[in-house]
């Protein structure tokens, strides 16, 4: 061994191995040599005799669980339905989850019988993984499988901790067991990450995928739709803080979870992963809270006081999201509320909302929005003539009032001419030409009418 090591050292191989864990823990760098010396045993000694650590685990509320596939560590927690996590009650999942049926329908279009199974409160399994790396490659190892579900009015959390890779099959078997009676998997980015990664783990442990797996209720896409323009980030922690009224205290950053697990692997001390277990449990609770929140929105149950706190961007996100999920009647009040707003950047939202009404043929709703947008354009340093053009078209073709149309068309032309040429408005010249033609046509029409 020493000869090989010496050769590798001479070739500069040490430290190039890309063990990202070392860079994540600067405090360990100082005792680099000590780590290497100690690591001589750490890498080879099998993880602690589980029995010797049971006390440490018990202190964390966890104990060894066994099934036909072996053992793993299971930590169970139970919350009564009245428990509030942030602003929502966990018990509200009972009615909120079924309201997310349109979301699951959209996400499971490829599944064989998508709409046959609505996400009943007890049919949904919440899942959140803690893994050793990024991506869904075969070397990314999910060492903690966090599960949560409603059962007889109680919200139950089960955390499957894999003390060493040999315990993986037993933990996966437990997961399959929990999935057996449930139809939906609720996650945050689980369609792209958690479930593909688990599929890979099943294959690596000798299972072959049969059927299509669970139906997805991935809460990331709706969160993006709602808050992409409203929040600086659509990460779960940002949503919690800004919309779910949850504050995390003493929480470890999720990105450090692998580092704590690697430390645990070195000496087997459960204390290293206490923070990871707590973090994962909070993620599961936040996921449930987010599901309630989204369910309320989907059901049109956000109260007026609540929407009043929202920005126009968020109103637009929620309204468009409801439209996309076949809930236009829930969206209508949000669009109306949006029309009454007066915020910086409103032009864009007014135009979008008006466009939605126009497509429904609701010109009574669209016209006031265009008029409001046109007024904003008149005041703007970089006036966009779109609202004027819409109004010109409306008056010319709907109202058959070329005189009114001409007023708007001429204003559009003036605004368009005022657009600074150098600011990337590449469509400006062509657009100006179109407006000019419209103005001429309207003038001809008017002249013809006069004759």
């Amino acid at each position: 061994m020493s000869a090989l090591r010496e050769r590798l050292m001479r070739l500069g191989a040490a430290g190039r191995t890309g063990g990202g864990d070392l860079s994540a823990r600067p405090e360990e760098r100082g005792r680099g040599t000590a780590v290497v010396d100690k690591a001589g045993i750490a890498g080879t000694v099998p993880v602690q005799d589980a029995a010797g650590r049971e006390d440490g685990w018990r202190a964390l509320g966890a104990a060894t669980a066994r099934n036909d596939w072996g053992a793993f560590l299971l930590r169970r927690r139970a919350y009564p339905s009245g428990h509030r996590h942030g602003r929502h009650r966990l018990g509200d999942l009972e009615w909120a989850l079924p309201l997310l049926a349109p979301v699951t329908e959209r996400q499971n279009r490829r599944a064989p019988v998508p709409s046959a199974r609505p996400p009943g409160a007890e049919a949904v399994l919440f899942l959140d993984l803690e893994t050793t790396g990024l991506g869904v490659g075969t070397g990314n190892f999910p060492f903690l499988i966090g599960l949560a579900y409603m059962e007889s009015g109680t919200f139950r959390v089960e955390q499957l901790f894999i003390r060493h890779p040999g315990e993986e099959p037993a933990a996966l078997a437990h997961l399959l067991d929990r999935l057996r009676d449930r139809t939906h998997l609720a996650t945050f980015n689980g369609r792209a990450f958690d479930w593909p990664l688990l599929t890979s783990r099943f294959v690596l442990n000798g299972w072959r995928p049969t059927g299509d797996g669970p139906l997805h209720l991935d809460l990331l896409p709706p969160s993006r739709a709602l808050w992409r323009h409203a929040l600086a980030s659509c990460r779960l922690s940002a949503i919690e803080e800004h919309r779910l009224g949850i504050e995390r205290e003493d929480d470890i950053p999720g990105a450090l979870a692998p580092t704590f697990y690697f430390r645990y692997l070195e000496d087997g001390d459960p204390a290293h992963v206490a923070g990871v277990l707590a973090h994962n449990e909070r993620d599961l609770l936040a996921l449930a809270s987010l599901a309630v929140h989204l369910g309320r929105l989907a059901g049109g149950m956000a109260d007026p006081g609540e929407t009043a706190e929202w920005t126009a961007a968020e109103l637009m996100g929620a309204a468009a999201w409801l439209d996309a999920h076949g809930r236009p009647e829930q969206a209508d009040p949000l669009y109306r509320e949006l029309g009454g707003r007066d915020e910086p950047g409103m032009f864009r939202w007014l135009m979008a909302a008006a466009e939605r009404w126009r497509r429904l043929g609701r010109f009574d709703e669209a016209v006031p929005l265009w008029e409001k947008a046109a007024a904003i354009a008149e005041r703007s340093a970089v006036p966009v003539p779109d609202a004027h053009i819409r109004l010109a078209v409306y008056h010319e073709h709907r109202r058959k009032d070329p005189a009114a149309a001409l007023v708007y068309a001429e204003r559009a032309l003036a605004l368009s001419a005022a657009l600074p040429p150098s600011r990337g408005f590449s469509r400006a010249p062509r657009e100006r030409e179109e407006i000019r033609r419209r103005v001429e046509r309207l003038r001809r029409k008017l002249a013809a009418n006069r004759d």
Binding site: L4, A13, T17, G18, G40, T44, T138
Partner: protein, 763 residues
């Protein structure tokens, strides 16, 4: 010959005319003619699927060449094989037939095709699809590479019968995600590896490990694919394939394809100064011959050794031919051109629209450019295999073809052009790999551990697996649990391991003459010499000057210029012995082998006038140095080898010997001259004596220096013969170097040193 237009009616006529022209024939040192050879065929095998026979029939194929029939039966018998036959001998059918047959018999069967480049992969898919269409069957062939859109990738993974990809993609995208490819790996019957000879050196050593990983994953899924390979001519195809695959491999090299008459002409540019041994420029002679061919209407390919030379030749030829042809009919071709541009040139060559192409060795690989009639090679390409590959570009199944090798003035070229029998007697080079190079093995082991945990009792390469895993455990990237080692780190190791030394770190070249336009790219190792600031970068015959080299961002900003010079950069090499593993001495000559560290820094560049090639100026280059840890072999000369010569004389002698040995080394090691480097040191720190160092130009070494340690006597004797036999008076570029560089008595002193050094070397 049409007396009015100067056009030849055929290559035959051009050759006959050439033979009558004394200004050319005076410089021809050898004319080798290979007579035409008829086809040898075999009927379709009885078991050949009727649909396959039908498809071939519609393609106009009624029987197989003998080597194709042999490949088919070998594959059916479950053997791994490697086919080695020349260009245009129907090599692809050797592997396509058994693969298609198997898929026709069993729709769940899968095959994986590996090509060294994306372009070759795309050619192949087109060919397979054409055949599938002719057979009227639904065989799904897909490329899977960096350009494959995500939504298509899913389809390829689940439903592709034949997945065509490259080793880099297999390494970084397929193997680390093998669980998404269950269908492929469970049903993998054949792995096709074409252009096997391209997998040599560091690249080949990595690919051998990627194949170890592939086989490991196949074992996991319970499949055991057969390897069907094809290679250009190399000395050791069977051994190379076996080394790469670590399986017994059958060699199929009995070529049944016909070929037309082929002429191979050795051409030595005339001496312009006999005393100084100076010859006319090989570039200008190449240009003269190529222009003559092109004017005669013969489709011609010109090969040049370097990118700069290629561009200079292109510039000259385009100027010369402009009045005869349009500018787009003579094109350049090399690695740095963008893919779209290269596809366009390949198409133009096939259709005949492009009459001439000047290329680097980039066109050596089996890219389909049709059958050209003539090939002019500027300077010995460095290996017999390359020479044959380049010459094979002008080779047709019917009708004659001609290759003219125009020798350069360096010792290696001069040696070959004067001893053509040596060239024709020479077997082509070996493809050498060292899959157990410690650094490569370690990197690949990490990738393998990421893909599947290792179990006690497994093997991976020649080193003790357990020791290596223990090392990785200490590096905290694997974790042992019981008798298994698991990858346990946040990193995705394949991202940090590149199969080709320079691939992921190319510099892009941005033309800022008008706006910003990317016109090409250059690999990291060539960047300091090709695109330093003020360098003249030539692209498709157009000159650009580098205005700014953004080294950290890997971008070079160039502007179009029109100047009458090109630039050439000098590299200063410093070298330090880290560890000597072997040591032997024969009297005054002692030799050692071990590990060395080489630092290279580009220091100055010269401006060289076009056409006259005179030095007209220079400038400094300020760029960071590159460090290389590799293996080396060095020769130290004791005092008695110099027989009381003074310091200057010793230096002259050492330089001369180093020049000669450096050039000849690649010939004896059967490698590319770029793979091994030589550095003389008048007083080396390690040996305290005048010393000549050789080193492998790859991190960790690829075994060349080690071989030199054993072969040294042959090399020194050949060097002695070359110096003694050279016709010049005091040294010339063809032996120890020109007198104005090595000194007035360079030849005499070098000869004296090499003879004394050999005095006690056993015969």
């Amino acid at each position: 010959m049409n007396r009015w237009t100067g056009r030849a009616a055929s290559v035959e006529e051009w050759i006959a005319d050439f033979r009558r022209r004394p200004e050319f024939m005076a410089n021809v040192t050898h004319w080798h003619t290979t007579p035409a050879r008829p086809a040898r065929t075999a009927p379709f095998p009885e078991e050949l699927h009727p649909k396959l026979a039908g498809g071939l029939g519609r393609k106009g194929i009624a029987s197989l060449y003998t080597h194709q029939a042999e490949a088919f039966s070998a594959a059916r018998a479950g053997e791994h094989f490697v086919v080695v036959t020349p260009t245009a001998s129907g090599k692809t059918l050797c592997y396509n037939l058994p693969v298609l047959q198997r898929i026709l018999e069993d729709d769940s069967a899968r095959a994986l095709y590996l090509f060294p480049t994306k372009a070759l992969a795309q050619d192949q898919v087109a060919e397979l699809q054409e055949l599938a269409n002719l057979m009227d069957v639904d065989i799904k062939t897909h490329t899977y590479d960096g350009d494959t859109p995500p939504e298509v990738r899913r389809v390829v993974r689940l439903a592709g019968h034949i997945v065509v990809t490259n080793p880099d993609m297999l390494h970084s995208a397929i193997l680390p995600h093998h669980t998404k490819w269950v269908k492929l790996f469970e049903n993998l019957k054949y792995v096709v590896i074409d252009e096997l000879h391209a997998y040599r050196g560091v690249f080949g050593s990595h690919v051998a490990n990627v194949i170890r990983r592939l086989k490991r994953i196949c074992r996991f899924y319970g499949s055991r694919p057969q390897f069907l390979c094809a290679s250009a001519t190399i000395r050791n195809p069977k051994e190379h394939a076996q080394r790469l695959l670590e399986e017994p491999v059958r060699l199929i090299d009995d070529n049944g394809a016909p070929s037309g008459e082929r002429h191979f002409v050795f051409y030595n540019p005339p001496l312009v100064n006999r005393q100084l041994g100076i010859r006319a420029s090989s570039v200008l002679e190449t240009q003269k011959i190529a222009a003559d061919l092109l004017r005669s209407g013969i489709q011609t390919i010109v090969f040049a050794r370097s990118r700069v030379r290629m561009e200079i030749l292109l510039t000259y030829l385009q100027e010369l031919i402009r009045k005869d042809f349009g500018p787009k009919t003579i094109r350049g071709y090399r690695g740095g051109y963008l893919p779209r541009q290269r596809r366009e040139i390949e198409r133009g060559l096939r259709s005949g629209e492009i009459r001439g192409v000047v290329s680097t060795n980039a066109l050596e690989l089996g890219i389909d450019i049709g059958e050209l009639q003539a090939c002019v090679i500027n300077g010995y390409p460095g290996s017999v295999a390359s020479t044959l590959q380049q010459s094979g570009r002008a080779g047709r199944r019917r009708g004659s073809s001609v290759t003219i090798l125009v020798a350069g003035s360096n010792p290696l070229d001069q040696f070959l052009v004067r001893h053509p029998e040596f060239f024709f007697g020479l077997t082509p080079e070996e493809a050498r790999i060292d899959p157990d190079n410690l650094l490569i093995l370690l990197d690949q082991l990490k990738c393998a551990a990421y893909e599947l945990p290792f179990e006690a009792g497994e093997t991976f390469g020649a080193e003790s697996l357990e020791d290596m895993l223990e090392f990785l455990a200490q590096e905290r990237v694997v974790h042992q649990a019981g008798n298994r080692w698991h990858w346990m780190a946040q990193a995705f190791p394949a991202n940090n391991v590149s199969l080709r030394t320079a691939a992921p770190e190319n510099f892009v070249i941005i033309d800022i003459t008008e706006g910003h336009r990317v016109i090409g790219e250059v690999d990291r190792f060539s960047a300091p010499t090709l695109i330093h600031e003020e360098a003249i970068y030539i692209h498709e015959g157009v000159q650009y000057q580098v205005e700014k080299l953004d080294y950290p961002e890997k971008k070079a900003y160039v502007r179009q210029v029109n100047v009458d010079y090109f630039t050439d950069a000098n590299v200063a090499v410093d070298l330090k012995v880290l560890h000597a593993d072997l040591e032997e001495a024969d009297g005054p000559l002692s030799r050692q082998y071990g590990e060395i560290a080489v630092t290279a820094r580009t220091t100055v560049f010269k401006k060289i006038r076009l056409r006259t090639h005179e030095n007209i100026g220079s400038g400094p280059i300020h760029l960071p140095e590159e460090e290389l840890h590799t293996s080396g072999c060095w020769f130290a000369f004791a005092d008695e080898a110099f027989g009381g010569r003074n310091e200057t004389e010793r230096q002259t002698a050492l330089m001369g010997v180093s020049n000669v040995l450096g050039r000849l080394a690649s010939l004896h090691l059967m490698c590319d001259p770029f793979d091994i480097r030589v550095v003389p040191q008048v007083k080396a720190v390690h040996t305290k004596r005048p010393t000549i160092f050789f080193y492998d130009r790859y991190p960790g070494g690829i075994g060349l220096s080690r071989k030199l340690f054993d072969l040294y006597a042959e090399l020194f004797r050949e060097g002695e013969r070359l110096i003694a036999g050279c016709g010049c008076e005091n040294g010339c570029p063809s032996c120890v170097g020109p007198a104005d560089e090595t000194g007035e008595r360079g030849k005499e002193l070098a000869l004296e040193l090499i003879r004394r050094a050999l005095s006690e070397v056993p015969a």
